[in-house]
Every structure is written in C-alpha cells, then in structure tokens.
Symmetry: C2
Subunit: 386 residues, 2 copies
C-alpha cells in the first residue's frame, strides 16, 4: 500500500521547444492529473543541445557536462518558480524528469546506451524535492530499446477513452512520432514511427530564417506542395524497414538527412514535404503493425505538440478512412501534457521498483526503473512507501 | 530504525589500477566490515579512461557514453562473479559504486560538475541488486567541492583508533592524496593534498616502458635521486596555494604537467622526484591546515594503495618527527579497502537521505546524497527502511 503522493512529470522532448510539466496525484488505487505548466526552452541552451548532436561533432568533456549541469540549473530554477506560485496542497513532493535526450543508441554492439542530460541532484537541491530521472537506461540494460516508454501510461489512459472496446491508439507527435495500440483484450503494442516535429520544425526555421520555430496549425504545410521524388527518396530510410520492437531519435533522423534529400525544395514545399513524410511513415506503421495484421482499430487519439497541427490530422484521416482521427482534447485531456503525465507515472513506478518498459520496448527481463535522487524530503517520502 | 542491510562499496580510483570491493553490514546501532575483494582494471578500458582525459581531447558522444556502458558492464560482471562465490548470508543486498572519475570541475563558473562513469542500471540489472551511485554531484549542487567524501567514514573509524584522544589523521594515498584530521573534540577537517599514485605510476610506466604499473614497496623511488630544481618548479602548482576547503583530481594534476617540468630527468630519478613531490605536498598540507594552527596530532594512519609504498611512509616520518606515521594495517584494518568501505557507508547514508559532504567539502547546505537505482530487490529493501 502506497499513501498519496504527488509527482510532477517534467518532459523536454527532442524538438527542444520547451519544457512541459504535469502534476499527477497517485495512491494504491487511483490517479488523477492535477495541474500543468509549460515554459519555453532558453535559446542558448537549445543551441548547445543541437550543437553537441551535430553529425561528426567532436567535443570536450567540459562542453557536454557543463551542459548537463546548465540544463539541471534551468529546470531547477523553472520548477522552483512554479512551485512557489502554488498552494501547499498543490505542491508536488517528487519530480520525475525525463532529461534532454542527446543520444540514443539502443542497438549499438556490444554495448548500447542512451543519454539524457540535466543533472538531477541540481534539481533536487534547488527544489528541496526528491527527483527521479534516467528512465531509459535500465530498460536498455535489460535488452530493451529504452523507448517508447509512454505505452504503460497510454494503457492506463485508454481505460477512460471512447472506443477502447473496439481497439484504440494513442499517438504522440513530438520531435519523434510514436504510438501505443491497445487491443480490445488489453494487450499493448508500441512503436516509434519516425520523425515528426524534428524535421517539420527544422524546415520552418530554415525557410523563416529562424523567425518561426514551428508550423502553427499546419498552415505552412498546407500552403506548400509535397515533392514526391524527395518523399520517395526519404522513405528509403533503413529505420522504416526494421521490425518492431524499435525506437529512434534525432540522431537517426537528423534534419541534415532531410535537407540532403530535399535539396531542390524551397519555401513552403520544404515544410509540406516534411509533414507528408511524417504522415506517410505513420500510416505505413499502422498498416504494418496493426491493421495489416487484422487487429481492430476504431480511433487514433493524437497528443503531443504536433496534435495541434491540423494538416497532419487531416492528412492522416484521409489516408486512414475507417478510423476516427481525434485529438485527445476532444475527450477532455490536454494533449500537450500526456507525455509529462506519463513520466510522473513512471516516477511512481520507479518508487515502487517496478519496470517502466515491457514487450513494446523489447525488454524480456526486469529492467531497473528511474534513479531516485533523495531530496531533503526523502524521509517524509519513505513513510508513504509500502 | 533501519533493519540490517549489507552494502558492498565499489571503488575505482583515479589511478585506474583496479576495483576494490568491501562489504559492510549496517543497522541503526552498529556497522561491521565483512569481506573484501579486488580485481585488476581491464587494460582496454583503462586506456580509454585515460584517453578521454587527455588535455585537449575532442571526443564523440559515442566514445564517452559507450565507455560509461562498458565500465558498467565490467563492474556488473565482476560483481556477479564475486557474489556467486559467496554464501547466501554473505551476499550484499545493495551495491554502492563510486564510478570512474573522468572529470572533476567543482570550481567551474557559472556551473560546476563532476563526472563518474559506469552506468548503474547495467550493474543493477546484471546483479539483481539495488545500486547507489553518483555520490559527488549532490554535494557540488549544494556548493561543495564534491570531495573529499571519505572524512565521514574516517570519523566513524577514528573512534576505534589508538591516539584519537590526542588527535589523529587518516590519510588516503590513491591516485590523489587526501587526509581527514579528527580533533580530540571530534570535529573533522578534510582536504586533498595533491597527486600521489597518478604521477608515481605514470613515471613507473614510462621508465619501464609499460612493463610495470606501480612502484612496489617504493623501491624504485628509493634507488633514484630527487631532483630539487624540478621539485621546486612543481611546487609552484596553483592548487597548493588555494585555501581549504579544496579538492583536486587527475585533470588538475595530469602526468603531462609532471613530465613537462621534469623534462631533464630519466630512470629512477623520475619516480624518486614524483614520490618526493607527493611527500612534500602532504607535509605542507599538514603544516598549513593542522599543526601550524596549533592542533594536536599524535598519529597519521596511512591507507589506500600507496600505503604499501614504504618510501612514502619513511620520508613522511622523517619530515614529521613528532608524529607516528603508521599503516592502518598496524591496527587491524586493511588499508586497501578503507575507501570502498567508506562508499558502502555513503550508500547507507543515501538510503536514509542523509548528505555525504559537510564542512570538509565546503557544502553549506543540504546536498542530495547518492542516486538510488532500484534493483529487482527494491521492495525487499524498502521493508527494512524506517
């Protein structure tokens, strides 16, 4: 039996557009989302995050680990300010932070790894709270891909979604696109489909010369023309042919990869083609892993920043005619914060020593969950644990 | 009240000569060392650890984080083999691993950091045990130097050492040399004095063309001649003038720094001069921080790999005539494993959420202790915690 504990999930995705924070209350029998907040990514830190991921980058230890500390300091400061504005009852006792992914190599031989920056002790010291972090490494240590990790929360969510008796998918459109399919019998499948905002945002930044960072509502994509030869070349990416379980990241789909194959394109056409690529790879994944195998699918619920991109949603609906393509907002959840809530839930599981991966990550044995950094309030937390 | 828990401390020092493992049993009222083991450092991993620390090194993320995973795998394998050879009663429930330091920048502005490699989730997965790691970052987050961290265990130990009523020091000779002084009133002071085996080992490796890795018994040093002009030049190192609290590492005292100032020396003279430098910087530190301030000091107990270097011990005794310079073996402890035991104790403190630094590290507020990676046995551990 665990007594009531409030956990703030803190998500910074591969697209580095901002940090999403969602507080969720848990006890042994129930869970309930409480409040959400988001803050923009500081440009200077964002630039450094992208710089160390450049293909062929050669770095000093100082460049990497000062960034680790600086991301910790930024998150610690942001969370402290937010917490100070809350009532005592609203304040989270625990912070479950994903960290900023800068490398993800789950298939590397002989040893795999994944790297999320943002030093948790800095956040624990600044906020006075216990912090849980490093959720992906333990799954990789157990032979999993360390991703996707949201399916276990999507499964929890699906129980309250219309259509779950006929098969539903929760689809996250972040820097990378991934979905969780929940069969009517409750079994779970999850996969990363490929890039979403990583390429779309990079295309928008390029054509607006940095004035815009994302395609609001998908309007730019809608005003451009999809270049079919470029799309065809991009669809040869080897990730798309790999069998599941599989996961990917910015390192496998860097914007440079896109620009190199879309060299002839300019203006809105770049954005339209990146958007079409996102949609096409998503449709292929549903066909390959769900529909094509005769699995029932009545509705796809979009979440993540890209769920606000109407062009993605409409193009998906066109290509998947018998399936309702909805935003999770349509059933009362805030799309933007599903991932942050998911990490709050993974923080809760970590406290209990429960794994955060499963068949959808490819882990076939117990993978250690997130790492617990005891904060000033650890003795208090211990009293609530079983 | 905490129920009995057995923790294996795992120490890999800056000199990369091997891993020392020491198991200690704790409960609320007592502690008792149980067994020790050590294994050599794999040459391939050692070479990579040194390579990424080379001054001016430019690295890929892959070089750093594959090494992090490989050190984790080596430690996981080593610990699994050792644990399998133990009786059920002897097996530790928790592993408290220091990790391999590759950078330590506690004074960096605006953000400080320290880096210990060795992925703890890999060790937790392979051993099935809960792992505690990353002991230094929280102290740095609280404004401390993240070092030295052994004083708190030295204090525990001093209560059973002869002479403690007249002031004693426990002196660790690892890659870096550091001591803890415990005043008769129980107050504690700790400081890093400078390099020990980092330079001596490098000198031995150079003159033996890699055939020897350390100066057994200090015999090489004894057969060489100390070069006074080189010694004088080396004593100008700015670290020696810094006020306490202070700590240092291989990055501030790389072997290259030594060789550049001992250019004219060859053969045994290189080893003799590195050894004399270790001794001279130690004596200066005792004069500056202990004796010179009128603090009583009756005995220095040497521990760490360098305690087996008779030349260091005899030269120290010569230069500190009124103080007994002993090996901690002389009073029944195994010198080599004091640091590993200390990290077992810091693991115990981390479980309870107690800080691992203090005035001796310069931390003036609560610093989060080590990070807990829940292993398969976490639910069992939770039952023993208060």
């Amino acid at each position: 039996m665990i007594k009531r504990v409030t956990i703030a999930g803190v998500m910074t995705g591969t697209s580095c557009d901002g940090v999403d924070i969602a507080s969720v209350e848990f006890d042994s029998e129930s869970w309930s989302p409480k409040w959400e907040a988001s803050r923009p990514y500081p440009k200077k830190i964002r630039d450094r995050v992208f710089a160390i991921q450049k293909v062929g980058a050669r770095l000093s230890l100082d460049e990497i680990f000062s960034l680790d500390a600086d991301i910790g300091t930024w998150l610690g400061k942001t969370l402290t300010e937010i917490i100070e504005g809350l009532t005592a009852k609203e304040r989270p006792e625990i912070i479950a932070m994903h960290g900023q992914t800068v490398a993800h190599a789950p298939l590397r031989k002989p040893t795999a790894y994944t790297v999320q920056l943002g030093e948790p002790t800095v956040v624990a010291e600044m906020t006075g709270r216990t912090v849980i972090s490093g959720f992906r490494q333990g799954d990789i240590a157990a032979g999993g891909e360390g991703a996707p990790l949201v399916p276990i929360y999507h499964y929890l969510l699906s129980s309250v979604l219309p259509g779950s008796e006929k098969g539903v998918a929760l689809h996250n459109l972040g820097g990378i696109s991934n979905f969780t399919y929940i069969k009517p019998d409750g079994s779970v499948f999850g996969v990363d489909t490929g890039p979403a905002n990583v390429w779309i945002d990079a295309a928008v930044e390029r054509i607006s010369k940095g004035k815009k960072t994302f395609d609001a509502g998908g309007k730019i994509a809608l005003s451009g023309r999809v270049d079919l030869p470029a799309l065809k070349a991009l669809l040869r990416h080897p990730y798309l042919k790999r069998p599941a379980p599989k996961s990917t990241g910015r390192d496998e789909f860097p914007p440079e990869y896109f620009f190199a194959r879309a060299k002839k394109l300019t203006g809105e056409d770049l954005v339209a083609t990146a958007t079409a690529y996102t949609v096409e790879t998503i449709v292929q994944a549903y066909e390959k892993f769900v529909i094509g195998n005769g699995n029932p699918l009545s509705a796809i619920y979009l979440c993540g920043g890209g769920a606000k991109n109407d062009t993605i949603r409409l193009w998906l609906a066109d290509l998947l005619p018998n399936i309702s393509v909805l935003r999770i907002e349509d059933v009362g959840f805030d799309s933007q914060f599903i991932e942050a809530q998911a990490f709050a839930f993974l923080g809760y599981r970590s406290l209990l020593g429960l794994p955060v991966g499963g068949p959808w990550t490819g882990a076939e044995k117990f993978g250690p969950p997130g790492k617990i950094t005891p904060g000033k309030n650890w003795a208090e937390i211990l009293k609530r644990l079983p």
